[in-house]
Amino acid sequence: MFKKIGIAVSFSPYGKSLFKIAAFLQKELSSQLYLMHIGNFSEEKENRVKALAQEFNIDESAYKIEFKKDEPSKALAKFVETENLDLLILGALEKETTLKYYIGSVARNLMRSAPTNLLICPAKKEADFEFNNLFITTDYSSRSETAIKFLADFGKLINSKRIVVIREFNIPGLAVTVDDFGSANDAEYSMNNLVAEEKEKLDFFLKEINIKDIAIESVCLYGKEGFASNKFVKDNNADLSVITAPLKRPKLFDRIFTSEIEFNIKEIPSPLLILKKF
């Protein structure tokens, strides 16, 4: 699992936090690290990367340093392809300005295309992190089932405490049924029944997956898909939030009329793992 991990190295103040996470994963998963810096090669820069690796006790045999001069998104996508990386670790601002969000920053463009599994870490100077509480959303599909099993295996390897599986759903047009229910309370009761029914399904779904040796919790949320889970992740201080990469690359329309994946990448309160290859 995650045998080849790439990191987009920057010398910004929060670049260290990426190194810290990469070093942790490298040790837990015995991975090979590919440290990539976008820019011209210089010995001074190489020494700085080496110094960072040393600071986090990464053995010299466990990493490789590369320099590429290209447009960052393209360089990173190419880097993933040539090195056949299982995971790419990137830093990203927790929130971007509206204009930048629409135009698309390097990190967000990569999140949309997800050339491989991506771990996006919010840019924070304080690099404290732990992976005790892992949150993942599900849609009951077999792809999502595989993702949960994959996450459980990952969680066990890095000694996580629990996995919280979130099922979020929204019924567009539910409010118009108030017209015929005649009362907001009836419509709300009907909505609560749908949530209860969904929770029951989610519990059976998890029982069928039969994950052992790590605590599994289930949560059912009613709300706009992507937004409801992201808010829940934020409110409950998840250590890692996990989603599966969309099957189709989101378009500009998905940004204007915010789609599920866009809610997930619009605001990144905690590290976000986007699973593409699992």
Binding site: P172, A175, D179, K201
Partner: protein
């Protein structure tokens, strides 16, 4: 300045009281018989209008609902305000992200569901206007009106039908909702263009100006104002009193939208509708807030508007069976063929495509508002107006039953739908594998399945994770090669150990087989069974039986 005198105030209040009271009473009555409330409200208007009340007591009816004067103008203003707020709530439920997410299927169904009935209506009106009873002054506008009136669906009726049939959360339900939302949005844009054509706008500009302003207003509100709403709503909901603050904000915003569109020459209701779309899109407008807004508007303003329809014309005098038949046939055929064909080429099977066609066939507010404008502008006759109202009523009433009939196979199955006395067997096995094998045998004999395959799959699954759920119930299950789910039930009075969490032996063993490719169906049925068998007392009473037939009648009595 003219003012309402005391007598006129009494007259106005009496009219509103009767409209609200009768509208509410008829609406409630129709709710009780599981029909859309809107049908009852329109019928209340027909009752209060010249058709019934006016025929029996013409003078009293004319006194309360005069056709000219200040009272009429005041009532007209109230009805116009009602339309604005109703359009606001229609807009609130348009979720463009859902339309985009449902993608091609929704767009194809929604588009063909508009184009085909439009062509049917417009072509019939253009090439054979005489079947509509008169030769219109402007054939092009008349044809455009007939086409548009037949092309739009009604979201509220569709939503309620989907809710009743438990189809909301299915792929078909989501496609229908998304297609109806798209249909609504496009319908109102076409409506505004229609108003430009008839020149009923206050602006007095050209058609192209109306079209340009309509699109510009839509673009600005959906791109920029929508973001502004999204940013302000959390503040408004947390700082202002609830629900008064948000209710006022929503209504004031819709009125501003209405004013702006009226000023730029587009009808005021379009502004309210687009503001509704922009507000409803915000994730910060909670479902509870939407419920409150809907409740307020649909209980007060909707009855006033729908009742007012019946006050306009004498439905008996203006009833022309030929025109009614032509409108209904064209409307039904166009919509069912258009949406059905759209659904079919999007990958739905024949029955599903037909049900989508029937669901989308529901008509509502837009047709009525459009017809009102058309009759006021002299484009259509009273006979056509009545025929369109009958189309709205009949399509709304028939949407549920027709959809229910055609979705029998694809509807969400429930545990109770899947059992009969032939699927129940009382036995005395001492080993759970024997019990499972017997249930598999019953299922395989009855539905001609491969016994070895299903029994091995169920036992394999059982060995992996035991399926006792507690309360004396176990649900051994597996996904197998079948098209529809199958349930067989074993009653074992001794009980078998299915390792239930409450450590009780299982006495009701429910074998559940589901199609291999339907992951969610299995989960839904498992959840349904768990829900049904929650009450220990009811289960004890179920175990107190001596035959399969008795169990079946008890299960219907206790769990239905």
């Amino acid at each position: 300045m003219q003012k309402l005198g005391s007598a006129e105030i009494v007259q106005l209040l009496l009219a509103i009281t009767l409209m609200l009271g009768f509208g509410r009473a008829f609406g409630e009555l129709f709710r009780k018989i599981k029909q859309p409330a809107v049908v009852g409200e329109i019928l209340a208007g027909i009752f209060l209008g010249p058709t019934i009340f006016g025929t029996i007591f013409p003078e009293i009816q004319q006194f309360i609902f005069p056709s000219i004067g200040l009272v009429t103008i005041s009532l007209d203003a109230i009805v116009n305000l009602s339309i604005i707020f109703m359009l606001l709530v229609v807009g609130l439920e348009i979720d463009l992200a859902v339309v985009i997410k449902q993608g091609t299927a929704a767009l194809t169904t929604g588009t063909l569901g508009m184009i085909i009935p439009f062509i049917f209506g417009a072509a019939a009106a253009y090439f054979a206007p005489s079947i509509f009873g008169s030769q219109p002054d402007n054939l092009l506008i008349f044809s455009f009106f007939i086409g548009t009136a037949l092309a739009i669906s009604a979201l509220p009726v569709i939503a309620r039908t989907l809710m009743d049939l438990k189809l909301f959360k299915t792929k078909m339900g989501m496609t229908i909702m998304a297609a109806a939302m798209f249909n609504d949005l496009m319908g109102w844009i076409i409506f505004s263009i229609f108003l430009g054509l008839v020149g009923s706008s206050s602006h007095g500009g050209t058609v192209w100006e109306t079209i340009g302003f309509t699109l510009l207003f839509t673009f600005i509100v959906l791109i920029f104002v929508r973001k502004l709403f999204d940013k302000s709503l959390p503040y408004i909901q947390s700082r202002l009193s609830w629900p008064g603050g948000i209710l006022a904000f929503v209504m004031v915003s819709s009125l501003i939208g209405a004013i702006l569109t009226e000023l730029i020459g587009v009808h005021s209701i379009f502004g309210a509708f687009i503001i509704g779309v922009a507000l409803g899109d915000s994730v910060h407008l909670s479902e509870k807030t939407k419920f409150i807004v809907h409740q307020f508007i649909t209980n007060i303003f909707a009855p006033l508007f729908f009742v007012s329809i019946g006050l306009k014309v004498n439905f008996i005098q203006a009833f022309d069976p030929v025109i009614v038949l032509v409108i209904i046939v064209l409307g039904f055929l166009g919509k069912i063929i258009g949406c059905g064909f759209g659904a079919k080429i999007s990958g739905f099977n024949n029955n599903e495509s037909l049900s989508i066609g029937f669901a989308m066939n529901s008509r509502g507010v837009l047709e009525i508002v459009l017809s009102l404008v058309a009759i006021q502008s002299g484009i259509i006759s009273e006979e056509i107006f009545v025929a369109i109202i009958i189309l709205v009523l009949s399509s709304s009433v028939l949407a549920g039953p027709l959809m229910s009939y055609f979705t029998k196979d694809s509807r969400k199955y429930s545990f109770m739908d899947l059992i009969d006395s032939k699927s129940i067997i009382v036995s005395n096995y001492e080993k759970k594998d024997d019990q499972i094998k017997q249930l598999c045998k019953v299922a395989s004999d009855r539905y001609k399945l491969n016994y070895d395959e299903i029994s091995s799959r169920v036992i394999q699954r059982e060995n992996l994770i035991p399926t006792g759920i507690g309360n004396f119930v176990a649900i051994p299950h597996a996904k197998v090669k079948i098209n529809k789910p199958i349930v067989t039930i074993g009653i074992n009075k001794k009980g078998l150990d299915f390792e239930a969490p409450d450590h009780q032996l299982s006495k009701i063993i429910i074998l559940l087989l589901t199609p291999e490719d339907k992951n969610e169906l299995q989960l839904q049925l498992l959840a349904d069974v768990a829900n049904k068998f929650r009450d220990k007392e009811k289960i004890s009473s179920l175990l107190n039986i001596s035959s399969e037939e008795e169990f079946m009648s008890k299960i219907k009595e206790e769990l239905a």
